[in-house]
């Protein structure tokens, strides 16, 4: 988990300036097409012709590569290996070690799946890198999302890293006392309870005062809410969204056509 409040990288780029909803359409468009399209190489092609250009449009290549190497690549590699080895697809056997006998079919199957998951995780990462949560929530609230949902999301994004930092302090203290792995389960839990308990109860007790504080500032007001920030939504945003919807419909039609 990150000490930062989100992945967001403040920068000025075409992708940063795009309306957040358009970016959401872009993400889900990429994901849906890569999963729905009947052609084997679609997800691979989308990575090359979609994800990579988007990185440059968003000017977040360095940050993306960092996240990709740390999270996305290990996860997809694991998925690839597990599925290539264990997917019970009969066919040309590649090799046999003990009870492991991956086939060409299971490997190809795993390769496509890995590419799909890779494309999915990558497009979400790009979205998070180029979109401030505040902008997304302001835009969605303007479009009719109840403002309480925006409150919950942003509040979570702020509270979670704070609590996590406290938990890390607790764990560091445990480690320095050698209580993390050497001792028995019972001892480990016993030594943690007096530390985790106050953390949990403390955070729960705060709930009442915070509820009073936001009620005092009109949280439950029935008036139509306004917003401090204005999120631009241009004509080209709307056109782009329609193109993405059409692409998804087209790949769904192709899928039905082929089967």
């Amino acid at each position: 988990m990150h000490d930062r409040l989100s992945f967001y990288v403040p920068r000025d780029s075409i992708l940063h300036r795009l309306n957040p909803l358009t970016k959401l359409f872009l993400v889900f468009g990429l994901i849906l097409v890569s999963f729905i399209s009947p052609y084997y190489w679609t997800p691979h092609l989308l990575i090359l012709a979609g994800i990579i250009p988007l990185l440059f449009l968003g000017n977040v290549v360095r940050e993306y590569v960092g996240a990709m190497l740390r999270i996305i690549l290990p996860a997809t590699l694991f998925l690839f290996v597990m599925q290539a080895l264990f997917q019970p697809l009969e066919g040309t056997e590649l090799f046999r070690v003990g009870f492991l006998h991956p086939t060409l079919e299971s490997t190809m199957f795993a390769f496509r799946n890995a590419a799909r998951v890779f494309a999915m995780a990558s497009s979400f990462t790009i979205f998070l890198l180029t979109t401030h949560p505040r902008e997304l929530m302001t835009d969605l609230t303007r479009r009719g999302l109840p403002p309480q949902f925006a409150y919950v999301i942003i509040s979570t994004l702020q509270i979670l890293p704070q609590m996590h930092a406290k938990a890390q302090t607790i764990m560091a203290a445990q480690r320095s006392r050698g209580l993390d792995t050497q001792s028995t389960y019972l001892k480990r839990v016993g030594s943690l309870l007096p530390l985790v308990g106050p953390l949990v109860f403390g955070s729960l007790v705060e709930v009442e005062e915070r509820a009073i504080a936001i009620e005092a500032r009109g949280f439950t007001s029935t008036r139509a809410k306004t917003s401090l920030h204005e999120i631009p939504d241009t004509g080209s945003d709307k056109i782009l969204r329609w193109i993405l919807v059409l692409l998804v419909i087209a790949s769904f039609t192709l899928r039905l056509w082929q089967s």
Binding site: F35, F86, V152, I159, H164, V207
Partner: protein, 256 residues
């Protein structure tokens, strides 16, 4: 082989159904009273509790997840729909901050954990230790049922969770994929979810009555004198028996 074609379309449909269910419940006004300001403020804290306890438990390598204690807390204090929302958002946000591939596919599981915990609590099954064990078991059953299709259709049965090695083993012994995944889940979930429910109950017992009364459903935890030590011992005994039963079933599956 079409059965295990990883199909995100099913997943998207499942998510859409969940969202529609929620929107229907929320917009029809039947659950508005469950969503007070206290609920909205509790949800982020509950998600943080999910994340933090899950993290600590992972760090000390306990053989459980315990990453839905907050979800159960909300479900019990604010009703099933608030619980469902907490579960879904919890997996969404924690995934966003850590590793989406580990968390997002299980959003429906977390949703139903909250929903079932809330329904059980509304039915009065969160008032004494043994009732909490029953609730925990029902949550576990739900979690096992919901996660099976996700693991099968989304990951082809093999996920990045440690328990996938059991599934892989079962697959090699010639079990069908759905049986393998469900058996694995059924072995792993009860211990985790019963502990989760019991810890959530312990936390609620530690909160003052006046504080609990601020939430929309304080009547769910007005205990009927079942919080005694004897009850706790009986409940723990039941849990130990369940674990032994799981091990027995596991042996049978491996043998058969």
């Amino acid at each position: 082989m079409e059965v295990i074609t990883q199909n995100i379309v099913y997943f998207a449909i499942a998510i859409a159904i969940m969202v529609l269910l929620f929107v229907w419940a929320y917009a029809s006004g039947r659950v508005q009273k469950d969503f007070s300001t206290m609920t909205w403020v509790l949800i982020p804290v509950a998600i943080a509790i999910n994340g933090v306890i899950g993290y600590i438990v992972g760090q000390i390598k306990l053989p459980v997840f315990l990453d839905s204690i907050g979800t159960v807390l909300v479900a019990v204090l604010c009703g099933p729909w608030a619980g469902a929302l907490t579960g879904a958002l919890s997996n969404f946000v924690i995934g966003m901050l850590t590793n989406p591939t580990d968390w997002w596919p299980w959003i429906p599981v977390a949703f139903f954990i909250g929903l079932v915990a809330g329904l059980c609590a509304n039915a009065g099954f969160f008032k004494s230790w043994w009732k909490v064990v029953v609730t925990g078991f029902l949550i576990a059953l739900t979690a096992a049922l919901v996660s099976t299709p996700i693991a099968v259709y989304f990951f082809g049965g093999i996920t990045s969770s440690g328990s996938s090695f059991i599934t892989a083993y079962l697959l090699q012994t010639g079990q069908g994929i759905i049986q393998s995944v469900f058996s694995t889940n059924f072995l792993v979930e009860p211990i985790d979810k019963i502990s989760t429910a019991m810890l959530a109950f312990a936390i609620i017992q530690g909160l003052s009555r006046r504080f609990v009364a601020r939430f929309p459903r304080p009547e769910n935890v007005q205990t009927d004198g079942g919080t005694s030590r004897t009850q706790l011992v009986i409940a723990l005994g039941v849990v130990v028996l369940l674990i032994l039963f799981s091990v027995f079933v596991l042996n049978r599956i491996i043998a058969g």
